[in-house]
């Protein structure tokens, strides 16, 4: 067991961050110029961090696998970004945002981190406005807000249904400005394949140029991993095709702890699976639940007719519709948090009331709000989402309710970090979705954008100085050091190994198989027997992969199959760890639902006496079981209660 130092400052919660900032070290401008920082990933967290660190005077090298930083998957976030501005005069505050986030996360997040997140949230909005982000406005010229799940105030800022795009383009523009002056060196179409540790500190990374195939060594005084989540372990998810947890996984295999890997978010409103040719799932923003009502038929015979296509949703009379969220959760209604809404949909479908030819869908109906507000209002709010839905399904949601079903969306788990966002490896940081820190067991809507930008703009630029102040005498990192040569050799060796299997099955075959195992046993509902089975099946799948994968093409050319092969090899191992973590956590909490731990009315039942901890998994070597370290969560400001949205 390793000792855990989370570096949470002493003192009252509202003063922790200010006190911490006042006591941590600062690097002088002259010394910042001598220090190099690597930032991997250019989504909201990575781009905002790279730009801000470069503005401070550090030399930044930024990496992304896409052809431009603007394409990172933050771009796909639709609904909005939370901030405790209280512009609506509805009694919002830093404390309320903090409270909502801790409660929404089912009391499995660190109080101090979440409070800081809420505290810096107003600054994010100001920053984005200054960059020219065209947030929605009222006629008087002030910023507009909407509501999101799990809260009773209106604190979500938005730019139509493209908030992530606009925030990312803001961060991207800041990054571009730094690239232009030469203080950020941008590497596109480059993938991180390993982290290099020298004398116990992170000193660089090994990458592959995805166009030429060249394996490269890059050195720095600190490495920041901002590579997003690992939802694609499930094959079908709302993540982009290229999203992967491999960078974080390489860090784990070099000794960084992985925090709460079993906490993944299943988003309730995605377009249902259409068939086995499907490659990914499309999200319909949570904001739609502001104006859409979720229902299934009350009568099983109606559900059967709908599944067979004999009748349509509009044929079901009002009194035969079961608005099950409004029925079960009268105070939050359609705006319950994501985990609750997803489970409620699954419960109805499992009971035989689902619609679509698969029986795996529920309705999200805008009829009522169109009647109340008019079609033009709904179009102004969600026009692009309705268009997207129609293009995919060929159904007009203005006329017929949308069909939705839960899908894998976000990873709350990730690399373990301390209050400074540093992993247990000195000099190695993880920010944004890549770390485990702020969302506990369930993330609230519109909080991912907030956390990514909080980390990148307003937290890391302060906390990284505390570490780098001790590195000012360290000369430029020599990438010809034996540690680099060795790491490069290992990376090249693994790429060659993937090529040399010369099996018969393409990479996707294994990825789909992995996805099925994960969805069936480590998905929305988990139990001991299923998790054990999943672990055995994934261990077998790993062997099968390395015995029978076929990677076509050349090593030294653009080769998407080779890229995928490496990621899927890692994903299988990650799946095993996720199942191990889910097996250890015998309670239900947030997105983690153990069938053995349920309240009388079917809600997730936490076990605070035994599981109020962050699981920090420590790698022990190939095919060895990892060691579980536990960071106890201490709640001084919020009383732990069974979460209720009734």
């Amino acid at each position: 067991m390793s000792k855990i130092e989370n570096k949470i400052p002493q003192g009252p919660i509202a003063e922790k961050w200010s006190k911490h900032k006042a006591t941590i070290k600062v690097v002088s401008p002259a010394n910042k110029r001598k220090l190099d920082i690597i930032v991997v990933g250019t989504g909201l967290a990575g781009a905002s961090a790279a730009a801000s660190l470069s503005e401070l005077g550090y030399n930044v090298k930024a990496f992304c696998y896409q052809d431009s930083p603007r394409r990172a998957h933050s771009i796909a976030a639709q609904g909005g970004i939370n901030a405790a501005k209280n512009y609506q005069n509805d009694n919002d505050s830093v404390f309320r945002l903090f409270y909502d986030t801790v409660k929404g996360g089912d009391y499995r997040a660190r109080e101090a981190n979440v409070y800081r997140l809420a505290e810096v949230s107003p600054n994010i909005i100001d920053q984005c406005v200054a960059q020219g982000v065209p947030f929605a406005r009222e006629y008087g010229g002030t910023l507009s807000n909407r509501s999101f799940g799990g809260v009773l105030v209106s604190r979500t800022f938005y730019a139509r249904g493209q908030t992530g795009q606009q925030l990312l383009l803001g961060a991207y523009s800041a990054l571009n400005r730094q690239i232009a002056v030469g203080s950020v060196k941008m590497y596109t179409r480059q993938e991180m394949l390993d982290v290099v540790i020298k004398d116990g500190k992170a000193r660089g990374i090994i990458t592959r140029d995805m166009v030429t195939g060249e394996v490269q060594r890059h050195g720095a005084h600190a490495v920041v991993v901002a590579t997003g989540g690992y939802g694609n372990v499930f094959f079908l998810s709302t993540n982009a095709m290229g999203c992967n947890g491999s960078a974080a996984w390489q860090c784990y295999k070099k000794g960084a702890w992985f925090g709460n890997p079993c906490f993944v978010q299943i988003h309730p409103t995605c377009i249902p699976v259409h068939g086995d040719q499907q490659s990914k799932l499309t999200l319909m923003s949570e904001s739609l639940r502001n104006d859409g009502r979720v229902w299934v038929p009350k009568k099983k015979e109606d559900a059967v007719k709908l599944q067979k296509g004999e009748i349509g949703p509009n044929d079901i009379p009002e009194e035969d519709r079961d608005f099950y969220l409004e029925r079960r959760y009268p105070s939050y209604g359609n705006l319950v948090p994501r985990d609750v809404a997803s489970r409620a949909a699954k419960e109805r479908c499992d009971a035989g009331y689902g619609v679509n030819n698969t029986g795996l869908a529920v309705y999200l109906d805008f009829k009522y709000s169109i009647e109340r507000l008019g079609k033009n209002v709904i179009e102004a709010r969600y026009g692009n989402l309705f268009q997207m839905y129609e293009k995919i399904t060929d159904v007009d949601p203005y006329k017929e309710p949308m069909q939705i079903y839960p899908a894998i969306h976000y990873s709350m788990g990730g690399l373990w970090v301390d209050y400074n966002l540093m992993t247990n490896i000195p000099g190695l940081y993880a920010i944004g979705e890549a770390n485990f820190s702020d969302h506990g067991a369930n993330r609230l809507g519109a909080s991912a954008l907030m956390q990514g930008l909080a980390d990148g703009y307003f937290v890391l630029p302060y906390t990284i100085g505390d570490y780098l102040a001790n590195e000012i005498m360290t000369p430029k990192v020599d990438v010809n050091a034996p540690e680099f040569i060795e790491a490069e050799k290992a990376v090249t060796g693994r790429l060659e190994q993937l090529f040399n299997v010369k099996g018969t099955e393409p990479v996707d075959h294994f990825h789909k198989k992995l996805g099925h195992i994960m969805w069936d046993y480590v998905g929305m509902s988990r139990n001991e027997a299923g998790l054990k089975k999943a672990i055995e099946e994934m261990k077998a799948l790993k062997k099968e992969f390395w015995a029978n994968v076929r990677v076509p093409g050349e090593m030294n050319n653009l080769n998407p199959e080779l890229e995928k092969a490496g990621r899927v090899a890692d994903a299988i191992e990650m799946g095993i760890l996720m199942a191990q973590d889910a097996l250890d956590r015998k309670e239900s909490c947030g997105g983690h639902f153990r069938e053995e731990s349920v309240t009388e009315d079917g809600e997730a039942k936490r076990d605070d006496d035994n599981f109020t901890y962050v699981s920090c998994w420590e790698y022990q070597g190939e095919d060895k079981d990892p060691v579980l370290n536990k960071e106890d969560l201490v709640f001084e400001n919020i009383e732990l209660t069974q979460r209720s949205y009734k």
């Binding site: 896409q66 052809d67 200054a130 139509r160 259409h274 060929d394 393409p506 199959e561």
Partner: protein
Amino acid sequence: MADITLKKIYVKVWRQNSAKEKGRFETYEVENISQGSSFLEMLDILNDKLIREGKDPIAFDHDCREGICGMCSLYINGRAHGPDRDITTCQLHMRKFNEGETITIEPWRAGAFPVIKDLIVDRTAFEKIQQAGGFVSVNTGGIPDGNAIPIGYDDAEEAMDAASCIGCGACVATCKNSSAMLFVAAKVSQLAKLPQGKVEAKRRARNMVTKMDELGFGGCTNTGACELECPKGISISHIARLNREYLVAKLAE
């Protein structure tokens, strides 16, 4: 949502192993494609087949597969992003195609976007244009309250219309002059509509246009093809605004 299955279609694809090698068209058969599948899922299935046959799969750019990242970039049957309005290639579905049809797929064709492999082109030129001035020069921190400067509803909406550009390059690919005017106009116009962007509007218009010309994009002759094929429906009225901004900038020199 029951879709019918296309028993057989033909796909005529541009194959080019690298920027230095010569390319050629090749035609492949694809069987049993659900019309509910997306166009890119059809290519996934074709690639699966090619890999199993020991052939090199077709390289194409794609990522989010929900029409927002701007990565996908196919020229299908002579149209950027294929035969549908207001969508990207990844949002195109097979219900737009018929049984037995031959579908022709090419990469973006523009001198400023050289081919990297097969259907993948290099759009670094777009990055360079953005780096030349597509930003407001503010550092992180020390910013006044978001409501300190009111912005009219219509101005914010028009800025948002322009800002919805995804940087895919369909406008360039579809323009007979390979002009990047719509792409440049989207950014210049977005920031020109907002008080935060006005401060350095002249410098921005000048620098971005100069960079665009330098990189080998053609001039605009107002054919309107870009507007027609833009997956986000960005209007050429933004080009008019860019021209005004540029003129003002030049007059001020």
